[in-house]
Chain length 304, copies 2
């Protein structure tokens, strides 16, 4: 088993009611790889940075079992930069700045030893780039999972639909599921989204948890109520990383196993939001992870 | 064991994207009593109606084991009337009309045989009326539960705080928990609300489920994703009715038992929203209830 993950590697400026940080480490592929690395060590990253990207960060991910040979480093160019400010309730944020930089003409190239991976996680990027990565796979992965967002529904509908037809699992938030399907009921939305390609749908609801849909089955993973949510940045990617990392470790692609993967993803996301950037995600002990999983179990377990 | 329930008995006009109904049966005490009657048959209702209230409805509740001797029937007066319209997403509604009628000078009188009940459910009413009911109890119930809303925080803060000091369990929605406590984190909100009196807090999140807080314990009951939500009116009261009905049946007031009560309440609420008014709540078979409880279990159960 191996897991290829594609997505941004970025610098972020983040402002939340808990404070403000500048030029911190971020990006979907970064969060996904870090989170997955707690479950699995054969991860292969595909992304692009400028030569302003700290070599320490590359070394750190390597030390976590992440193959970085698919990371393009563009001489004389700058890494992708995003700045955002969260509202008081943390559910909404304003994007203050987006500097695409190296991402503007990102042309993903999968090293040969990536091309037969069993699991592929397509982080949020243009649907065209996501499709290009699928195209470069020599054999079809056991599972292709894709994250996307409302922005691509607005500006790149046709290529989004084309890419969706190639994937097995889609992760989006509840509003996006409604926009994509035209249905308010998530049960109805799932049925319409199956028709677009994905056999599995994960609906991320932030502080309200996540739902997994497959055929007529539904599973719900709660979000752990936390004392403090300091920075939601990367929570969705961290969730996807934990989810895919667990699937890659176990190698089983079915609804029953995905239930557990959903809980593992939720547990990782709950750590993510407790600190800015990757501060907590880079330092989770085995004991903490075990306790957190137990907390999730306690949260929903009842005797019948 | 016996359960006293206090609240409105009302006519409703309801408009949702699924249709419009006029002068249908509603009111907190109605929904609570009907839902509780699926679990327990020693229920005592306290409320007021005009002589326009259908005697059939009174007879129906009696046939469900609900003592109606605490229902005042005011000659020549009209029952409480509410008209509301739900938005497309069903999470928001506009009140179009509120005619207090008999409720304007409602002075609850507990029949003598009500005054030693073990469980007391105070449906949403002015905090003064809720307090008056507590005052009329001869012996202190094993559990006093209270529902309230943001409106009373805005217009009757002082009496709300006084009443809260006398209750064991508070049910409110997430926005209201935040308004009452001044804390965005529900974990912090719960701690502040304990200081106001309640030892248990139930936070209702509508389509996102419900949380039970007690000391450092948290339990989460999901909402069942439904194909269609036709009318959310009374869902919170139906939830409270199922919750209290289950507690009254089992007689145990503790966190472990309340977990199950929360699931039973959520199951009842999921039936409520599938039809207008009490249409579904009046006709749930044992088989349907059993299947629904199993659906809740399936929704959150995972192997570890």
């Amino acid at each position: 088993m191996s897991l290829v993950t594609v997505g941004t590697v970025a610098f972020d400026d983040i402002e939340t009611p808990y404070g403000r940080v500048e030029k911190v480490i971020g990006g979907a592929a970064t969060y996904i790889s870090w989170a997955a690395s707690y479950f699995y060590r054969d991860i292969m990253l595909v992304s692009v940075v400028g030569d302003d990207w700290p070599s320490d960060e590359i070394a750190l991910l390597k030390s976590r079992g992440v193959d970085m040979s698919g990371l393009q480093i563009k001489k004389g160019e700058k890494s992708f930069f995003w700045a955002g400010r969260y509202h008081e309730n943390m559910n909404k944020r304003d994007t203050l700045t987006t500097e695409l930089n190296v991402l503007a003409d990102f042309d993903p190239v999968l090293p040969e030893h990536y091309q037969n991976a069993d699991f592929l996680m397509l982080g949020n990027l243009t649907p065209e780039i996501q499709m290009e990565v699928i195209r470069q796979m020599e054999s079809r992965p056991k599972l292709i999972a894709m994250d996307t967002m409302n922005f691509w529904m607005d500006v790149a509908w046709d290529s989004l639909i084309k890419t969706l037809a190639e994937v097995d699992l889609l992760t989006i938030n509840d509003e996006e599921a409604r926009q994509l399907s035209g249905e308010y009921s998530l049960v109805k939305a799932a049925r319409k989204i199956y028709d677009l390609g994905p056999k599995y749908l994960v609906v991320k609801k932030g502080e309200h948890g996540a739902l997994l849909f497959h055929k007529d089955h539904i599973f719900f993973a709660p979000a752990l109520p936390l004392l403090e949510v300091k920075d939601p940045t990367g929570a969705g990617d961290t969730f996807a990383g934990g989810f895919m990392g667990y699937l890659a470790r176990t190698g089983e692609v079915n609804f029953e196993n995905m239930k557990k993967a959903l809980i593992y993803g939720s547990a990782m996301a709950s750590f993510c939001v407790e600190a800015f950037s990757l501060d907590k995600i880079k330092n989770i002990s085995e004991e903490e992870l075990k306790d957190r999983l137990q907390a999730f179990k306690n949260l929903v377990h009842f005797e019948t």
